[in-house]
Every structure is written in C-alpha cells, then in structure tokens.
C-alpha cells in the first residue's frame, strides 16, 4: 500500500524528470548534432572537456536511481535528496559550461534544451515534494 501510494505521488515528477534528461542526450541542443554525436566528435578531436556532453545522461541516471529509492521506501528520502543533489550537480555544470559556450545560438535552440530544462525542473520540484512530505519520523 505504501509502495503504491509513493509510486503514484512520485512517479510523474520523480521518474519522468530523469527520463527526460536521459532522452535529451539523444536530441540536438544547439547544433544539428545530438550530444552523443558531439561526445564522439570531441573525443576524437581530443578536446579537453568532451565528457561534458555525457553529463545530461549521467545526471538522468543518478536522479533515476535516487528516485527509485524513495519510491521503494519513503524512509530513504534523505538519501534520495543527497543523490539527487549529486545528479543535478552534473546537469548544473553542463548548463553553465555548455550554455555559456553556445549563448549566441540560444535563439536556434533544439528540442534537447527544452527536454533538459523541463526534466531538470521536474527533478527539483520532486525533491521539494519529497522533503515537504509530512512524516512522523523526521530523523531520515
């Protein structure tokens, strides 16, 4: 019953958010290439921050694992939040580094950026919803 209740309340935000982040990896953000293609190109060219293009998918996977924990058991909510902080950290760095590089092309933004931002916001709203859930036990 507990499992079912948590699945219903956290499914929309907690799972769709990370999945959107993962999907955004396979769509173009600012150029005609998606992020996986950009990672391969920059790796071959030995550009120093080529791993940056993998950050949305890493972020999505970490947040997905985090949210599965809270769906499994609400008692794990602090673990979920800390893990989500780690996951979102990757996405933050990606946003700051990549958007600052491509700021000139912001008007030509592709589907990827919308998926990325929407997924990111859903994860943040999910964290707040997990933390504000009133529980008798406040020790985590």
């Amino acid at each position: 019953m507990q499992l079912k209740k948590n699945v219903v309340s956290f499914l929309l935000l907690g799972l769709i958010g990370p999945i959107l982040l993962i999907i955004s990896e396979f769509f173009p953000w600012f150029s005609s290439y998606n992020l996986v293609e950009l990672f391969i190109i920059t790796s071959f060219a030995e550009i120093e921050n080529s791993f940056l293009f993998l950050f949305p998918v890493i972020s999505g996977i970490v947040c997905l694992i985090a949210n599965m924990l809270v769906i499994y058991n609400i008692e794990f909510r602090i673990k979920t939040v800390i893990l989500s902080f780690v996951g979102l950290g990757f996405q933050l760095i990606f946003f700051i580094d990549y958007i600052s590089l491509e700021v000139g092309f912001l008007t030509n933004a592709g589907v990827g950026i919308y998926l990325g931002i929407f997924g990111f916001l859903l994860i943040i709203i999910n964290i707040i919803s997990v933390l504000t859930r009133v529980e008798k036990d406040s020790g985590g």
């Binding site: 939040v81 902080f85 780690v86 700021v103 020790g139």
Partner: protein
C-alpha cells in the same frame, strides 16, 4: 476481590504521588540546581549548597524539604540523591544536551555516516571552542580569497566562475578579487533571511555567523586540488578535467550538507526544511548565474 481492587488503587495513587513529586521538584530553578550539584558531586554539604546557590538559609531549607522524595540527608550530615533523585538528575542532564544540540544524532545510518564528514565540534561549538571556530572560519575566508585570486575565480555561492578582469576598472578588480569574502556575507544574509521569513527562526544568528565559513571548507579542498591541476597543466587532459568537475560536484554536495546541518542545529529546523533552504539557495544561485550569462 475488594482487597485486590483497593491494593491496585493504592499502587496507582502511589505512582501518581511519585510522579507529582518528581515534576514538582524539577519545576523550580533552585531545586534543579540542587539536584545537579548533588548529581555532579555525588553528595554535598549545606554550606557548599549555600555558597553555590547564593540564596538565604531559609530558602535552601524550604527547597530541601520540597525535595524530600528525591534527596536524603545521611548520618554524615551530607545530602545524597535517592533513586528518584538520580532519575531526575539523569533526565536533566539528557534534556540539557538535547536542548543544546538538537538533531545531534540521527536515526538513519546514512545520516550518521554523513556526520563523519561534518565537524560537529566546530559547528555546534561550546564556549571553549568558540575561539578555535572563529580562527578556523577566518582561516577559511583568507585561504578561499587567496585561492580564488590564484585561479582567477569569482566566487558565487558554491560556484566559481572564471572572469577576465584585466580590462576592468581597478574598483571592479578589487571587488572581484575579494568575491570570496563578499560571497560569504551575502550567502549568510540570504540564509538568515530565508530562515527568518519562511520558518520564523531568528535565534543564534551570531553563532551561525561564527561557524558559517565552515560550510565553504569542502570548496577550499576543491580549490586546492584545482590549483594543483591548474599549475601542473594536468587540467588540459580530458580525463583530469572530468575528474575535476566530478570533484567539484562532490564537494558542493558536502558543502550543502554542512549548510543543512548548521541550519538544523543552530536554527532548530528539521533536517528536511534545512535541505529545502540549501536547495533553494543552490539552484537559485545557479539560475542567477545562468541569467547573467544569457
């Protein structure tokens, strides 16, 4: 049957009497002090109590009489705790520790492991450690400023931005070079305002300020590592760059945990609420940063 019922009633009445005398004893400050003095020293004399409490002889006799269920005077004329008195002393001791440091121990094993990364001694700090906490805080601020200048970083909450200051006015150059200090105070003011406005928690402001720089301690470790990568030119290697970014995320999360713990201890907030404040600050800061770029 009637005798048994009467017996039960007598036992219940006795229990209520004991409970009443227990709470009555703890309801007055002087009586609590008497219990603490005896508890800490095992026994005490009347003269010692008079010197410690600084009240009249009559007042002490009055309170000693009120404590007759909790303390006793033995043949050596000294006062000792009875069994109930020992319970009262332990209860007082435990309550004081809880009041001084709420959330000190978490039920979760995960949170307790996280506490290994948290210097409780300098975040909670007692009078004896206050000076050390202040020295460490000042050290963190000075070191942070030096490392930011060395790396050409501008500090913004828990982020560091590289800004080319060569073409800027000297005033801006000074401001950007002292960004770590300015960021420290801005960060503190925002945290304090959020806890006052949203959670109506205005206590321990100066204590929070004294240990607030400890929140940046993990970021100092990151800055040291980044400086090493930077000066050895390892940062240009793809994998080192990746590790550097992962380290930054790890240390940011550690800092966020320290911020949440400090708020929880100093402001008496639930850990969940402290985490919400940390989250709002971190992602609010990020949004501002992104808007600046755009």
């Amino acid at each position: 049957m009637t005798i048994s019922k009467e017996k039960k009633q007598n036992i219940k009445k006795k229990e209520i009497d004991v409970e009443s005398s227990f709470y009555y004893a703890l309801s007055h400050e002087i009586r609590r002090k008497i219990i603490k003095i005896i508890g800490e020293n095992e026994f005490t004399s009347f003269t010692y109590l008079k010197n410690e409490l600084g009240v009249s002889t009559g007042t002490i006799y009055h309170h000693l009489e009120a404590l007759s269920d909790l303390i006793e005077q033995k043949q050596d004329k000294k006062y000792y705790l009875k069994k109930l008195g020992a319970y009262a002393y332990n209860s007082l001791k435990d309550n004081i520790e809880t009041i001084k440091a709420p959330h000190k121990e978490f039920k979760s094993i995960f949170l307790n492991k996280l506490m290994l990364l948290t210097s409780k001694r300098f975040i909670i700090f007692n009078k004896k450690d206050r000076i050390y906490t202040l020295l460490i805080s000042i050290g963190i601020i000075v070191l942070g400023t030096i490392l930011c200048v060395l790396n050409g970083f501008t500090s913004f909450f828990l982020f560091f931005i590289e800004i080319n200051i060569e073409n800027l006015d000297s005033l801006f150059q000074i401001l950007i070079n002292s960004s770590f200090i300015l960021n420290f105070f801005a960060f503190f003011v925002i945290v304090e305002l959020i806890s006052r406005i949203f959670y109506k928690k205005s206590e321990n402001t100066l204590n929070l300020l004294a240990s607030f720089a400890l929140i940046q301690f993990p970021m100092i470790i990151y800055l040291v590592l980044h400086t090493i990568f930077n000066y050895t030119a390892f940062i240009s290697i793809n994998i080192v760059n990746f590790i550097d970014q992962i380290l930054m995320i790890g240390f940011q999360v550690w800092s966020l945990w320290l911020l949440s713990y400090s708020l929880s201890v100093k402001k008496g907030l639930k850990i969940e609420n402290s985490l919400i404040i940390s989250l709002l600050l971190h992602y609010g800061g990020f949004t501002l940063l992104l808007l600046t770029f755009i």
